[in-house]
Every structure is written in structure tokens, then in C-alpha cells.
């Protein structure tokens, strides 16, 4: 026990080359050579063993599916017969790029993404700002913020489906009481997108608010004090102290939310009810995720679905690149 400890002291991990010398000078105190070899092996191998689970998991559940999907996207592969695939080259991709359903899904993903992400982050910022004040029962409020996030997509979507029901839904009842005509939320194109976004906003706003809150609490208090001394109002403090200090956090949430929006799937699927993968009678809220599911699991064209998946990956990489550029610009600005 003590030997190990001393040994560890002389040869900290990361300096593997020091190990042989160290053991050499201490042979008298080391009972057997194989044990010391074991120690040496331990020092070198342990880190790999520790990180191995991640790489094994990544290999099995990340890399392999990724490569297999890439392979499948170049073949005609049907759900009814996975043993038989014919080489298509890039046909799946060219077909997709010519398919109006694909472009429609891409457009929907973008618009739903914008109308859900922008208000969601803005509201989250506002809520975080409010929660950052000294409040009675602040923990309660913070837990309450997380409640929608903890709700399953399924139950949240079910409730919203009923709220937005064409016939007897509460939303239509509300706007009816103000004198407007009822809206067929699911079948109108902007109505359905609005409804889907509202589910996303409801579920994720609290989550983002807590991230902002955590970042806000790391803002040094004396900044506010000096701002207050200079006569800055609460709003001015928020604009000129909080927001700039939160910039990296905001960027992070934007990236995460954008990725989430690109992969949006559960909410529109469940909002659509039966045959939800079509995203409405006119595909008016069919996102890329739904389109992939529809192609692969309803129509059984796994090759095409794989091509959609790879195009989604490319889109995500593009978004990441754009985000990186913006981040770099922001950093230079400061």
C-alpha cells in the first residue's frame, strides 16, 4: 500500500518515461519483478481502461451506426428484406434533392426551429433574470421551472393536442370567446407550426432558464454594484452587465437548441396523431426527423431514410461551423 503511494509520488501519471528509472532505483524495496512490471503496466494502461467504456460505447452505438447508415444510404435497402441490398451510388441523395417532400421538411424544420428557439431563449432569459432577484421560496420556483422539462414528450404532446383540438379544444374556445373564428390548428400550415412550437417552448424554456440562472449567479456582484452607483437602472444593468457576461452561455444554448430543433421529432409526431409521421395532410409540419421516420419505418425505404440521416448530419455540421464563426467574431469584438 505504502509502496504504491510512494511510487505514485515519484511517477505521477502523464510522465510515463520516468517510471522505469524510478522502479530501477527502488528494486531493493520491490519484492518481485513481475509485480513492478504490473505496476508499470497499470500506470500506462489504466487511463485507457478508464476511457475505454466511452470509446466502446461510442464505437458500438455511435460510430458503427454512423458508418452503417452511410453504407445503407448508398444502397436500395428495404425494411422487408435487410439481407438484400443493391448498390445505388448516390441515387438516394439525388432523389431526395429532387423530392419536394424533402425540401418541404427542411423548410418546416427551419421555420419551426426559428419560431420555437427564438421566443424560448428570450423567455428563458427573462425568467432567469426574475429568478435571479432575491425571492421568497426561490428553490420552489426553480423546481417549478424544471417541471415541464421533466414531463415526457408523450404526455405533453397529448395535452397540447387536446388544447389545440379543432373541435372543443381550449385554445379555440378562448379565441372564440374574444370573437375570433376557430382555427383548425392541425391542418392550417402556420397554425400547426405554431402549435408544435408551443409544445417545444413549453418544455424547454425552464431548462434554458436554469442554465442562464446558473450563469447569472456567476456574474460578480460588484459589477452590479458599480453599475448601480453609476446610476444604471435594472434594465440597463440587465442589458449592459448581464447580457455581455452571459454571452458564452447564450451561445451554448443557441447551439444546443439549434441541434434540438434540427432533430425535432417527438412533438410533431404525437401532435399529428394517427399517421403523425406525415406531419399533417399537406405535410405542413413534417420535420426532417419525421420525414426520415416516414421514409424508413412507415414506407420501409431504409436506404432513403439513411440518406436523409446523412443529409441531416451535414446540415448539423454546417450549423456548427456557422456557430463557430459567429463565436469567433464575438470573441474578437470583445
Amino acid at each position: 500500500m505504502s509502496e504504491t503511494a510512494e511510487y505514485a509520488e515519484t511517477a505521477p501519471p502523464g510522465k510515463g518515461d520516468a517510471a522505469p528509472a524510478a522502479t530501477g532505483s527502488k528494486t531493493s524495496r520491490t519484492p518481485s519483478p513481475w509485480r513492478s512490471r504490473l505496476y508499470r503496466w497499470d500506470i500506462k494502461a489504466s487511463p485507457y481502461v478508464f476511457v475505454a467504456p466511452f470509446f466502446l460505447f461510442f464505437g458500438a452505438f455511435g460510430l458503427f451506426p454512423l458508418l452503417y447508415t452511410g453504407w445503407a444510404s448508398l444502397h436500395r435497402l428495404e425494411l422487408t428484406n435487410l439481407d438484400d441490398s443493391t448498390w445505388l451510388g448516390l441515387d438516394n441523395y439525388t432523389n431526395l434533392l429532387q423530392s419536394e417532400y424533402f425540401w418541404n421538411a427542411l423548410g418546416n424544420t427551419f421555420t419551426i426551429g426559428v419560431i420555437s428557439t427564438v421566443p424560448q431563449l428570450a423567455i428563458a432569459l427573462g425568467i432567469a433574470h426574475l429568478l435571479n432577484y432575491k425571492l421568497r421560496g426561490s428553490t420552489l420556483w426553480r423546481v417549478a421551472m424544471l417541471a415541464p422539462y421533466a414531463t415526457s414528450v408523450a404526455s405533453a404532446s397529448l395535452v397540447f393536442t387536446l388544447l389545440f383540438a379543432w373541435d372543443g379544444g381550449m385554445v379555440n374556445w378562448l379565441i372564440g370567446s374574444v370573437g375570433f373564428d376557430p382555427v383548425n390548428w392541425r391542418e392550417s400550415s402556420w397554425g400547426s407550426q405554431f402549435a408544435v412550437s408551443s409544445i417545444v417552448i413549453w418544455r424547454w424554456t425552464g431548462y434554458n432558464a436554469l442554465i442562464y440562472l446558473a450563469a447569472m449567479q456567476a456574474v460578480p456582484h460588484d459589477l452590479y454594484e458599480s453599475a448601480a452607483l453609476d446610476g444604471a437602472s435594472r434594465w440597463q444593468q440587465f442589458r449592459h452587465v448581464t447580457i455581455p457576461m452571459l454571452r458564452p452561455t447564450i451561445l451554448f444554448t443557441v447551439v444546443v437548441s439549434t441541434i434540438g430543433a434540427t432533430q425535432l421529432f417527438g412533438e410533431p409526431l404525437l401532435f399529428g396523431g394517427t399517421a403523425g409521421s406525415k406531419g399533417g395532410a399537406d405535410h405542413q409540419f413534417q420535420t426532417l426527423g419525421l420525414y426520415l421516420y416516414d421514409q424508413g419505418w412507415i414506407n420501409g425505404h431504409l436506404g432513403r431514410a439513411s440518406a436523409v440521416a446523412w443529409l441531416m448530419l451535414v446540415i448539423l455540421l454546417l450549423i456548427a461551423a456557422v456557430n463557430m464563426l459567429i463565436a469567433r467574431r464575438l470573441r474578437k469584438d470583445r
Binding site: 504504491t4 393536442t161 399517421a275 414506407n299
Partner: protein
């Protein structure tokens, strides 16, 4: 500071890490192996998994309990996925990978042709199983699940002889006849007459109600009686010119454009509410729907609903039970599937759930009428369904029936009914969707 803590706790920490890794690895292995065992415990008990979509009625009729009692070594577990459009892809994946298959798997009739043609090799031949008597099953039902080389991969559970269910109270308020015989005679043979009655209903419709739940319901009911469906005998798609498809489409369009529909989407939560709140007066009523109406309509609907023969006799829906060859307990599973589809058992399912047996020899034992009968104002539902089943024309099912049907009802009909598009636009959209589905 850092190095001293490092020194003191290095060994234990490493032990913890090793232990955690080992625990993780073993739990993973355990997760895999428990799947492989298929639930056979050490005491010789066998768990048979039955995969179904929606309510099949086997469990509700107490058949599993009964079987477990007579076979003490068997436990039956039903894995239900509510909707077939989610259940079916899963079934296909399980069959392809051979992992996680249910010992007994339900197959919906609109998928049966595809399963027979593409998955035939992955199922046990139930036609040759002990205790199976081909003559007890409806001939066309038997043929649907039989491959070209004579292998029967599924035994018929229920079929969907399709009647019309209507709210007697709403009909009365709208000044329409309420007698089931009279109604059946009034619209017999022609769906146009049914639509005409709908027009009459709408003139004096009780506030907040419509004649029918959805245009898709009408489409499906009319299509159920079609002799020509989406495919011809050689397996070629004929959905564009098929007479059955055209008739069904036209009827649905009349209902959609005549504002006779409550514009609900079938099997949605709002549709369920429509039953509870009496928002519509008629609904296409295959036998399995009777149980559904009773469940969703609740106590208030009891005795208000009635049932009449539809203008044409047809079949909408139905189920088969198959035994995937990748299952762990094929022998026991086959025995179970055979037992479950015996006429006596199917008669019990009818009594409880009104799912109509695919074994005509069960019809005589159906006399003690179904539990749903009182709900439908004591309509002789046994006779009505048996009569329809007898007169249903034989129809050719195709490989992508389910997806084509869904494209027509959920894209085409819905665009006209709910988005106010013209029938031509709706049909064009449906056609485009079908082409996409078929990968053309």
C-alpha cells in the same frame, strides 16, 4: 494539496473505478442475456410473449388466464402497441434481426400480403400444426395468410364485417327513421342513398352534431365492400383506376364537401371525445369497432347507439396470429396460437369484445349474444355481422395496402375535408404520396 489527496486515496479510488466498470459491464451483459433467455426461468416455467396492436380481445375475454390454468408451466405476456403503424415496422425489424421477437405475433390484414410475400420464410407453418383444421376457417381468410408454395404463416383471429352504427336519439331529433330494418332497406345497395339521408339529417341536425365522424370513415366503409382494391390478381397496382377505390373516394368527397362530417380524425383522442359527447350520428362499424364504441361512448351512450346493415357488405380489418421462427419456444407458441384461434375461443372473444371470428363454425355458438348487444339497443349484432360476413365479396389484397390506404385517407381525404381543397387537388396529393410510398 492536490498531490496529497491523490496519494492518500489513489488505491481505493481505483478500486471504485474498477468496480464501477465491472458492474457496468456485467449489467450490460446481463441485459443482453436476459433477452436471450426469453424468460424461461429455472423451474421449467415458460413465458410466451404475444405481440399485438390495439385491443385484440384475447386477454379481455380471459383466454390467457384460461390457458395458463390448463398449462401450469406457461405464463402469457401480452405486449401491446396501440397503433398498427407503430407495431408493424417493429415486427418487421424483429423478424429481420431475429432478436426480441414475440413468440406469437399478431398481423393486421392490410399487412398480411406483404408478410406472406416477403417474410414467409421467417414464420412457422401453422397449416401443418397439430390441431389445426383448415375447414374451420373462412376460405379467403386462410388463403390470405398462405404463401404460394402452400405454407400458412398465420391463423385467422377476427375479421371485420362492416355494418353502420348510428345514434338513435340523434336520428329521431333530426326527423329520420330510427328502425334498423327500415334504415337498412332505405339505403340498401347504394351509398348515394346513405349520403342523401345525410343531407336530410343536416337540414334538421341537432345542434353541434354532424351526420358522420369523418369522411375517411365513409371511405373505409365503402372500400370495405370493394371487389377491386389497390392491386389486381397479378400484384400490379391499380389504385388509380380501381372501381372500388373510385366509389369509395366519391362517397367520401360527397360527405366532405356536403359538410356532413364532424371532421374528426379516426383514432385520435378528439375522436374518442366525439363518441363521448355525441358529436356525430353515424360511424362505419366493423365488428371490432363495436367494442371500441362501447368503450369510448361510455355509460351515456348505452341504448342510444343502434346498428344497421350498411348499403354494401364488406370487410374492414381483421387479424392473424403467426409464430416467428426466431422465437425461443416455437413448439409452445404454436400450441398457443392454435388454441387461441379455435372456434370456441374466438366465440368467447366475440362475446366480450364483438371481434368477429374468422371461423364460421363458431357462428352457431355465438347465439348467446355479445356483451355489446345491450349497448346497441339490443340490435341482433350477431346475426347482422354473420350475415355481412357471409355476403362479403372476396377481394385481392396487395403488398402495400396499408400504406396506400393511409395515403388516401390521411392525405387526400383530409386535404379536402379539413383544408378545403378540391377533390381533384386531394386526389393528386394522394397519388403523389402513394408514388413516394412505393418508391417510384
Amino acid at each position: 494539496m492536490r498531490s496529497s489527496t491523490f496519494r492518500r486515496s489513489r488505491r481505493p479510488r481505483r478500486l471504485v473505478a474498477y468496480a464501477a466498470t465491472a458492474a457496468l459491464a456485467t449489467s450490460l451483459l446481463a441485459a443482453c442475456s436476459s433477452d436471450d433467455e426469453g424468460g424461461s426461468a429455472g423451474d421449467g416455467k415458460i413465458t410466451l410473449n404475444v405481440g399485438t396492436f390495439g385491443v385484440l380481445g384475447l386477454k379481455q375475454a380471459g383466454l390467457y388466464d384460461e390457458y395458463e390454468k390448463s398449462h401450469p408451466n406457461i405464463t402469457i405476456k401480452e405486449n401491446v402497441i396501440e397503433r398498427n403503424d407503430a407495431y408493424y415496422p417493429k415486427l418487421l425489424t424483429q423478424l429481420q434481426s431475429g432478436a426480441g421477437v414475440n413468440d406469437v405475433a399478431a398481423i393486421e390484414v392490410s399487412n398480411i400480403t406483404e408478410v406472406v410475400q416477403t417474410q414467409g420464410a421467417k414464420f412457422e407453418d401453422l397449416g401443418k400444426a397439430k390441431g389445426v383444421d383448415k375447414s374451420t376457417y373462412l376460405d379467403w381468410k386462410w388463403k390470405q395468410a398462405t404463401t404460394e408454395d402452400g405454407k400458412t404463416i398465420g391463423l385467422g383471429v377476427d375479421i371485420g364485417p362492416t355494418a353502420l352504427c348510428y345514434r338513435k336519439d340523434l336520428f329521431e331529433k333530426a326527423g329520420l327513421p330510427t328502425d334498423r330494418e327500415k334504415l337498412a332497406k332505405e339505403w340498401a345497395g347504394d351509398w348515394d342513398k346513405y349520403v342523401a339521408l345525410g343531407k336530410k339529417y343536416m337540414e334538421k341536425a341537432p345542434k353541434g352534431t354532424k351526420f358522420v365522424d369523418s369522411a375517411s370513415s365513409v371511405y373505409n366503409a365503402v372500400f370495405a365492400g370493394a371487389t377491386e382494391r389497390y392491386y389486381d390478381k397479378s400484384g400490379k397496382e391499380i389504385y388509380e383506376d380501381s372501381q372500388g377505390r373510385k366509389d369509395a373516394w366519391d362517397a367520401a368527397m360527397k360527405v366532405a364537401q356536403g359538410d356532413m362530417s364532424a371532421k374528426l380524425k379516426q383514432f385520435d383522442p378528439t375522436w374518442d371525445q366525439g363518441f363521448a359527447n355525441a358529436r356525430f350520428a353515424t360511424v362505419a362499424c366493423p365488428a371490432w369497432m363495436a367494442g371500441y364504441i362501447q368503450e369510448k361512448g361510455g355509460a351515456e351512450g348505452k341504448g342510444q347507439w343502434d346498428m344497421a346493415k350498411a348499403p354494401t357488405d364488406g370487410n374492414w380489418g381483421g387479424t392473424f396470429l403467426g409464430v416467428p421462427s426466431a422465437g425461443k419456444h416455437k413448439k409452445e407458441a404454436t400450441e398457443l396460437a392454435v388454441w387461441l384461434t379455435q372456434p370456441e375461443q374466438l366465440a368467447k372473444v366475440f362475446a366480450k369484445q364483438a371481434s368477429f371470428p374468422s371461423t364460421p363454425s363458431a357462428y352457431d355458438t355465438l347465439k348467446p349474444s355479445a356483451a355489446t348487444k345491450a349497448y346497441f339497443n339490443d340490435a341482433p349484432i350477431t346475426e347482422i355481422f354473420a350475415d355481412i360476413a357471409k355476403n362479403t365479396p372476396s377481394a385481392v389484397y396487395g403488398i402495400k395496402d396499408a400504406q396506400i390506404g393511409q395515403s388516401i385517407t390521411d392525405i387526400g381525404v383530409l386535404q379536402v375535408e379539413q383544408q378545403g381543397k378540391s377533390p381533384d387537388e386531394g386526389w393528386e396529393a394522394a397519388q403523389k404520396e402513394i408514388k413516394d410510398v412505393l418508391g417510384q
